[in-house]
Symmetry: C2
Subunit: 305 residues, 2 copies
């Protein structure tokens, strides 16, 4: 199989596709991250501990699938895919801190501040964010025009007022408070969907899609982001600790705003089906081989971790 076939239209088995895209992304991340034996070692070890913690590489896979849909090669997509994973990982490292969600376990392993220490975890997260923007700025396979556009997209999706940091802030604010359905949607849109939408858009932008195509695939990504968070909430209720790699039910205990807490299990499952349907509908308007994006939506609806 050629590398460029991964997650492209002729890829029929989504799991094989995800495994292969993870292999490519992990190899690229390994070459982009500072070596663990370079000073300051402790921070570099902590960065690698957090990045290579067995994540699904969902955002990179999505960026690759979107890029392939509109005709880009892996070579042009991989650095930006890694940059998004760096931002995602930095957010997990900081969210797990005692002052934030205070999580000891992630993907079945001690979180960064538990394995190392809080100061190292703060610095590892900070450095990962820096490296994300630097990695895109220095991607010589892309034109400078594309690189600045990608860093603008990433900044908006990762920051505030309409990005990930804003979502995390609203999420913390909402703890132990009654939130409405609209408020919960807003938290999820910013905290989780913003970076998922960014992954899809960046793939299309690198491939040079038309504005109409970009708009259509953004619609897909918006529904997919919602679907991802709904299934995340569902898994927290239904999965076992072994499946999840973290303590299940933690969100409910912390009085976190979740869909099952607000609507109950049945209605939440319907909302997931609805978001999946809307994601698939958005793909229908795109006259490109969108099967990989469709498969990722199916995978997200049915995921067990």
């Amino acid at each position: 199989m050629k590398a460029s076939d991964v997650l492209s239209s002729d890829q029929t088995d989504i799991n094989t596709g995800l495994v292969e895209s993870r292999r490519l992304v992990d190899a690229a991340l390994d070459s982009l991250l500072p070596a663990a034996d370079v000073s300051p070692q402790r921070v570099h070890e902590a960065i690698r501990w957090s990045v290579f913690a067995g994540g699904k590489r969902f955002r990179p896979a999505l960026l690759l699938a979107s890029g392939h849909t509109f005709g880009a090669t892996n070579e042009c997509l991989l650095r930006t895919a890694c940059a998004l994973e760096m931002v995602h990982t930095y957010s997990l490292v900081h969210d797990d801190l005692p002052a934030m969600d205070d999580d000891d376990l992630r993907r079945g392993r001690p979180t960064c501040h538990v394995r190392y220490d809080e100061a190292t975890a703060i610095l590892a997260g900070d450095a990962l964010q820096t490296l994300a923007f630097q990695t895109i700025a220095e991607d010589e396979r892309l034109s400078p025009v594309t690189r600045v556009r990608l860093n603008s997209e990433l900044g908006r999706a990762a920051g505030t007022p309409r990005g990930m940091v804003a979502g995390q802030a609203l999420d913390i604010q909402a703890e132990a408070q009654k939130v409405t359905g609209d408020e919960l949607d807003e938290i999820h849109r910013l905290k989780t969907a913003a970076l998922i939408i960014c992954a899809v858009r960046c793939g299309a932008i690198i491939a040079g899609s038309s504005e109409v195509e970009l708009e259509a695939v953004t619609k897909y990504a918006t529904s997919l982001g919602l679907l991802f968070q709904i299934t995340d909430d569902l898994l927290d209720v239904t999965a076992t600790e072994t499946e999840l790699g973290k303590t299940p039910g933690k969100d409910a205990r912390a009085d976190k705003a979740t869909y099952p807490a607000l609507y109950g299990l049945e209605e939440t499952r319907s909302a997931a089906a609805r978001a999946h349907r809307e994601a698939c509908l958005a793909l229908e308007s795109i006259n490109r081989p969108t099967i990989a994006l469709k498969q990722i939506a199916d995978f997200t609806l049915n995921r067990t971790k």
Copy 2:
């Protein structure tokens, strides 16, 4: 006075120049930062609390002075100057956290996590770093080629293994340990000088200086960065709390690696004079009006806060 004259060669009074450049930078920062009444308000308030805390705007002033030296206008320099101040402020907010340097007071006011809370301070710092890279990526006055170069410079200066985060990691590692003079130099080079050098280089890059000029002004900035940290250490020993706006002597109590602790006061003062001399010497090879850069070196040698 025209805006473009600020800190340029015909500016004879450094203090007037610094006040005027601070006014320009503060106005630009105000327009770049999210408004405090936009959701999530608490994070945006915390960002503004930290950015508008009465800092000297040393790095922006340096970037403007360097840019003017090589012929750039304020209009082309201001956004990048603000980006550097955002990175500097994010680093202060995170460094002040209990898990890091645990400072309650900065510039005479409660630090961000004391005024707000730890989670908000972590998120405010994270968002400021994001916005720094985004601000440069979206600076339409600069060519995309220049913008990606600036974001690359900023990433290298702010991150690891050769930037600010690496320096902070080494600094924490060195606490309560005996460090050699070389190790102390390395900590200062990364933690403080890297961003100061970045400010000088970014100004020259925006102005389109030659590679030879860029190398010469980098030499100046390297000595200036060292001088800045030496005088910082000296002030910690000699200044009163009122002058400093923070608890003096704190570094010594925390067994922090400092020049006076390693060499004594007299030898540290000689080192400051030596660094100042070398900074001025580097300017002599630049056939441009360098008086503003010279004045900043003088100011740094003689500063009282």
